[in-house]
């Protein structure tokens, strides 16, 4: 029941992910961050098998950093997306990763962009995208209210509409969501939307 979605606005891209780590009927934790900061101006929101998700996104993150060390300049978002797709495609017929990815980034020359990469390595540049059961609600909500070049306020408003829809209509809806944004000033956490807070760990 993992929900990941994102959209592109005027000079920024926003991605949202739920924060539940679930194993069968048990919720291990409800503050698991599934959106990794790939580099200064890229975000990778991933959903899928937990082991594959962490392993694969860390692998991509380290390789993107390696490229920057070797070549002195960072990869563009398109290049990072194509590299990610290449790794998924190569592994597909040997040892496939069950990870769906939304890669959001900002490039000085081309502006914000969002790439949809599913677990069988289908790559497509999109304005709005979503994965999981939540996509049945968030994609339709975004289809209704999205227009190109939305402001941050309008986009976060739309994100909140999607979260409300998921919370009210998805049977085992995740309680908490994290929202991250990337624009010319970089990739950063924007907000959390919590309805359940993990109990504080008792001090020893």
């Amino acid at each position: 029941m993992e929900c990941v979605f994102g959209l592109v606005g005027e000079g920024f891209a926003v991605v949202v992910a739920d924060t539940s780590a679930v194993h069968s009927i048990l919720v291990h934790k409800s503050n698991e961050d599934k959106i990794m900061v790939l580099d200064s101006h890229k975000l990778i929101a991933a959903s899928g098998e937990p082991g594959d998700r962490v392993q694969f996104t860390e692998y991509i993150q380290k390789n993107v950093a390696l490229y920057q060390f070797r070549n002195g300049i960072p990869l563009t978002t398109a290049a990072a997306a194509n590299f990610t797709r290449g790794e998924l495609a190569t592994a597909l017929r040997k040892n496939p990763y069950s990870v769906n990815i939304l890669l959001a980034g900002y490039d000085k020359e081309t502006g914000p962009s969002l790439y949809y990469i599913d677990y069988i390595a289908t790559l497509h540049k999109v304005d709005k995208g979503a994965f999981g059961y939540g996509s049945y609600f968030s994609l339709s909500t975004m289809d209704r209210h999205y227009h190109s070049r939305m402001s941050v306020e309008e986009a976060i408003d739309l994100v909140d509409k999607c979260i409300i829809e998921i919370r009210s209509r998805l049977v085992v809806a995740p309680p908490n969501f994290v929202i991250k944004i990337v624009d010319k000033d970089g990739a950063r956490e924007y907000a959390w939307r919590e309805t359940v807070k993990d109990a504080d760990v008792a001090s020893a």
Partner: protein, 204 residues
């Protein structure tokens, strides 16, 4: 559901008088859900050779990258573009290499050969070539496309009439197939120019 029907696609190529046309739909889906309505299935190999790839989108993207790579090497070695017949044989060989673990794609190859004679062919996922003098079809809407093309096709059509015919054949066929549609992408190639047009059909 068959793996060939996972993403949904429709492709058709037609021969005219010293010209040819190749058209595709624009839907990218994941089974019943539509992800994008601007997906590209037809790629330019060189000015007089176009390749359409239907079937599983990830394999279409991988196959396209491999074939472009092979063609670029050919161009470097031979200092000329590949003839359509040669390219078709290359695609067939590349597909048969994976005979026991195939790419789930059906390519449609269309080009202008010697003396501006149009060449079209299609093949199955393991490289069995099917040459035709009039039209070739591929994708989830292929059965409808066969019927529509057989009814509407005339030999030796000029470029404008060919465009009308292939567009009507494509749109009427994808309207009967839930997995393909959301518009059309039509290329009409004559010895002097390449005309690319987007069709607006039923957006559902």
């Amino acid at each position: 559901m068959s793996i060939f029907e996972y993403n949904g696609s429709a492709l058709v190529a037609m021969v005219g008088k010293n010209c040819f046309a190749i058209a595709s739909d624009r839907r990218l889906g994941v089974q019943l859900q539509t992800i994008a309505t601007d997906f590209q299935r037809i790629y330019k190999i060189h000015d007089r050779l176009f390749l359409g790839l239907s079937g599983l989108a990830t394999d279409a993207q991988t196959l396209y990258q491999r074939l472009v790579f092979r063609h670029k090497l050919y161009q470097l070695r031979e200092e000329r573009d590949m003839k359509p017949e040669t390219f078709a044989s290359l695609v067939s060989a590349v597909l048969y290499e994976k005979r026991f673990g195939p790419y789930f794609c059906q390519p449609v190859i269309a080009g202008l050969g010697e003396e501006d004679k149009p060449f079209i062919c299609t093949m199955d996922s393991i490289g069995a070539k099917e040459l035709a003098k009039d039209f070739v079809v591929a994708g989830t809407a292929s059965e409808s496309l066969y019927g529509a093309c057989e009814a509407m096709f005339k030999p030796d059509m000029e470029a404008e009439e060919l465009f009308e015919t292939i567009s009507q054949a494509l749109l009427s066929s994808v309207d009967r197939d839930c997995l393909s549609g959301w518009g059309g992408h039509v290329y009409v190639i004559t010895p002097t120019e390449v005309k690319e047009r987007i069709l607006k059909g039923r957006m559902d």
